[in-house]
């Protein structure tokens, strides 16, 4: 069960988090392997989001150890996690509508010419690199100079993911990346996630959708009532077994 440590991008042991009297996480042990898509499943309130938020610094856990990229890690805020190489793709907290695709892709990591206290944008270079990044990940947008507001939901999600990859993330965390999307757009975002794995980007995917988890992930972790109740290689499990795990009907 224990993977080779050099293979592990992110791991935690004994992670607990209380909110008042509610024990949201109890002694959770979790790990994600480098270059794989690791899925976390569970019912509403099972603690998936709390686990992820503890891992990326949104919440500070009450107890437990976290290691990232082979080193102990304690992130006090998401900014620290991002600097360490963990990018989170949020559901709706993602893009600035009124900025262009290229501006969004390079937001707060702009390419600039420095001149004294002033940082002048190198807009041409950012556009060139944006186009290169989008075509590398086969994302179609009419123009990188287009405002994000006029893109579809799927395109926007693709651009958020692209920004995470472009920022040089070692690990991209996605919380329900297709929850708000239609069938076709979901398919496109799933294709993008599959390409990330081909590029050896590590992904943690929170999802309600068993079919999606079976299609995309390499390893699945199931949670129930604040605990991890089991983990499987995706290739060696089935949707029914996973349903059993998260509802408590099957063997843990």
């Amino acid at each position: 069960m224990k993977p080779d440590p050099s293979d592990t991008i992110l791991a935690c042991t004994g992670l607990s988090k209380h909110f008042g009297g509610i024990r949201a996480l109890q002694e959770v042990a979790f790990s994600a392997r480098r270059g794989e898509v690791t899925a976390v499943i569970g019912d509403n309130g099972a603690g998936k989001s709390t686990l992820i938020r503890c891992l990326v610094g949104v919440h500070v856990p009450d107890s437990g150890e976290i290691s990232f990229d082979g080193r102990p890690a304690r992130f006090n805020d998401p900014d620290e996690a991002r600097r360490a190489g963990i990018e989170t793709v949020h559901q709706n907290l993602a893009l600035v509508d009124e900025l262009t695709v290229a501006q969004n892709l390079f937001l707060n990591r702009e390419i600039v010419h420095r001149l004294g206290p002033f940082a002048f944008l190198n807009r041409k270079e950012m556009k060139v690199q944006s186009r290169a990044l989008l075509s590398r990940l086969s994302i179609n947008v009419p123009s990188v100079g287009q405002r994000v507001r006029r893109l579809s939901g799927g395109q926007r999600q693709a651009i958020s993911i692209c920004r995470a990859v472009g920022a040089g993330a070692k690990l991209v965390v996605m919380d329900e990346p297709t929850a708000a999307l239609g069938v076709q757009e979901t398919r496109n975002v799933e294709a993008l996630i599959a390409r990330l794995r081909d590029e050896q980007v590590s992904v943690i995917l929170i999802s309600h959708n068993f079919d999606q988890v079976m299609r995309l992930s390499d390893q699945v972790w199931a949670m129930r009532a604040g605990r991890v109740v089991g983990t499987r290689r995706t290739a060696e499990t089935s949707g029914n077994e996973l349903v059993g795990l998260i509802t408590g009907a099957g063997p843990a």
Binding site: P78, D79, R82, H90, L93, A94, L95, V96, D97, E98, L99, Q103, L107, N108, E110, V112, F118, A119, F120, L121, R123, S138, I139, N140, V141, P142, R147, R149, R150, L151, S152, G154, Q155, A158, Q184, E185, R187, N188, A191
Partner: protein, 327 residues
């Protein structure tokens, strides 16, 4: 991924055959420019003296103060805020200039102190808004009153004569059609444009106004950005004060309320969204030119000054309506 390309085509109305000028968004983006040229046409035909060199020169000089204030207001409105204290700050800054000059400071030192005082007022506005988490509207409405009072106290309600050769030259000198105040306004607009569109700060400002939570989640210090925006609007109020004192030859403690309304009006006419995230410098400049042209033309036509606020108000509300079609 061709499906995504189609998704993009859906997001954009595929009515290619319609010319751009039939789309409402065209009018939204170009309202100020179209309005300005419409007014020039109307007044040019109906008031013969309107297109004379001396009148065009006067219109440009008269709009320079409003342009400077509108550029400052643009920075605040682009962050989804509003600075209602700008005109009052201009007045206070003029009073500071007058007092410093009367106290024997050199004119350059007096101007620097005036701009410094105005920038400080802007900085304080930003600080209270961000640290105190109070709506911009309330804070700047309060500072409008407080700053006005401070100006009255400092000046004891009396105007101060400022007879400086430097300011006299500033107000009367010109290069061709363009008086020096116009050149100052153009320089402020150019600096504003570079700052907004060619620096990292500008992008962060638009991101803060467009979606503050996103900007914060990406590590942008949105409070600092907003404080900087108010400090910029304060500085612009200070520069406007120098032009104002140069123009009337004295520092008056009475607040020019038209300047406040027109600064917001010029920005709205210029296509800057009051919801933030969307900026333009050229737009508000044209907005300021349009409002000044309107007042000038109505005066030349002999329309009573009482009609001017009515006309400005109607135009601003119409402009805001057209802005809904922006995309």
């Amino acid at each position: 991924m061709t499906e995504e390309a189609q998704g993009g085509a859906d997001a954009r109305p595929p009515r290619r055959e319609r010319p751009a000028w039939l789309e409402p968004s065209f009018w939204a983006d170009w309202a100020a420019v179209v309005g300005l040229f419409g007014l020039i046409l109307i007044f040019g035909l109906s008031a013969p003296s309107f297109l004379s060199i001396s009148n065009l020169h006067a219109v440009l000089v008269a709009s320079s103060i409003l342009i400077v204030v509108a550029v400052g207001q643009t920075f605040v409105i682009a962050t989804a805020g509003i600075d209602l204290s700008m005109a009052a700050t201009t007045t206070l800054s003029a009073v500071v200039l007058g007092i410093c000059y009367a106290a024997g400071f050199g004119i350059v030192a007096a101007c620097v102190l005036a701009v410094g005082a105005a920038s400080f007022v802007g900085f304080l506005n930003g600080l209270v808004i961000t640290r105190g988490r109070i709506p911009d509207f309330v804070v700047t409405l309060g500072s409008l009153s407080a700053v006005t009072g401070l100006g009255l106290i400092l000046s004891r309600g009396e105007p101060t004569m400022v007879s400086s050769l430097f300011l006299l030259r500033l107000s009367s000198g010109h290069i061709g059609l363009f008086g020096y105040p116009v050149l100052v306004a153009a320089a402020v607009a150019l600096l504003g444009h570079v700052l907004l569109y060619h620096t990292r700060f500008g992008v962060h400002l638009l991101a803060t106004g467009g979606h503050a939570e996103s900007a914060r989640s990406l590590g942008i210090h949105i409070d600092r950005v907003r404080i900087a925006a108010y400090t910029i609007s304060g500085s612009c109020a200070g520069i406007a004060a120098i032009l104002l004192v140069a123009r009337i030859g004295s520092a008056e403690p009475t607040v020019n309320t038209t300047l406040l309304l027109n600064s917001v009006a010029a920005v709205v006419l210029g296509g800057v969204s009051l919801f933030g995230g969307r900026g333009s410098i050229l737009g508000p400049v044209f907005g300021a030119l349009m409002l000044t042209t309107l007042v000038n033309g109505l005066t030349l036509l002999g329309v009573s000054a009482f009609y001017q606020p009515l006309a400005v108000g109607i135009i601003v509300i119409l402009a805001a309506l057209i802005m809904r079609y922006q995309r």
